[in-house]
Amino acid sequence: MRFMPIFLAAMWVFAATAHAQGEAPEFYDFDTQAEEQRFRGLIAELRCPKCQNQNIADSNAPISKDMRDQVYLLMQSGATDDEIVGALVDRFGEFVKYKPPVDRRTILLWGFPAIAVFGGFMIVAGVVIRSRKQSPEPALSAEEQARVRQMLADRDPSSRS
């Protein structure tokens, strides 16, 4: 633990220099605002295979830059969104899509929220139904009530005659 501050300082210096060494900001030319929006949308939903938890828009890994360039080139050549994403999936696998397709392998992934909500609903419904069933039942049978009355009468001196 003594070395923690040194370690953190080293990390900070490393992070700072790594950032400074990062490539100069890149510029992509678009004819229209809509094209630029489309590009931003595409690179936001593609995942960097190297950094795993970043999209290629945010990541400054070299591979992300290559992928952005490729998206740009494919856009300029008139490819559709599906073709562009498909070209990258063919190289890097389904991993690069933040939105996995709905198919046999991913059906549980997509269906789980609905299953969880349904399951939760069933549990709540079960608890409610059971508690409803129990409450109207008289706590004591007629015979027991008579006994209680008898016992209370026995204890109450005023009723004794």
């Binding site: 295979p49 795993q52 591979i63 190289r91 890097f92 696998g93």
Partner: protein, 178 residues
């Protein structure tokens, strides 16, 4: 029934525990290549040692090969190089090198210092073949069969253990088939 319900939390906890324990030790940064079962992408790149010569995907026809993606700037490539030398010299493995996003002089000084285990080296300064192969971090090592089809991709350092436990079984399987 009521009694069984009391065990429900325990059963759930054990189930979740098994599910989570299965993930421990798995390296999430190792992704299966999207190219497995597909032929090596088409390329046309220079031979690093003989710049006049152009290499293409037919390089991988006829014999099983390892395709090792390396660069002088990649620290782990320095680590694994000794083991690649061992594979080439002791085991007689055919290793094709893909010099990835590197500079020629640096690549040569790397080989001068550490030795040269490669049968052929593809020079890919812009990383175009690397991109088509889905390379996201050197070193990566592909097993390519005699038909030029990608059979396996290993991300990270190759060493004796990786060879014995992963690459050799894949090669044996591939050779048994073809």
């Amino acid at each position: 029934m009521k009694r069984l319900m009391l065990f429900l939390p325990l059963i759930l906890a054990v189930g979740v525990g098994i599910f989570l324990a299965a993930g421990i030790g798995k390296d999430p940064t190792r992704l299966e290549s999207a190219l497995i079962g597909k032929p090596v992408p088409e390329f046309s790149l220079a031979n690093l040692r003989e710049p006049g010569q152009t290499l293409d995907q037919s390089l991988f026809r006829g014999e099983v090969a390892l395709l090792n993606v390396w660069a002088e700037w990649c620290p782990a490539c320095w680590d694994e190089h000794e083991d690649l030398m061992w594979l080439a010299n002791e085991k007689g493995v055919r290793i094709v090198g893909l010099n990835y996003k590197d500079e020629k002089e640096k690549a040569f000084s790397f080989l001068d210092r550490l030795g040269d285990p490669y049968q052929t080296i593809i020079y890919d300064p812009r990383g175009s073949l690397g991109f088509d192969l889905g390379v996201y971090g050197a070193p990566e090592t592909f097993v390519i069969d005699a038909e030029g089809v990608v059979r396996y991709r290993h991300v990270g350092v190759v060493n004796e253990r990786v060879w014995e436990e992963i690459l050799l079984p894949v090669i044996n399987r591939v050779e048994g088939k073809s």
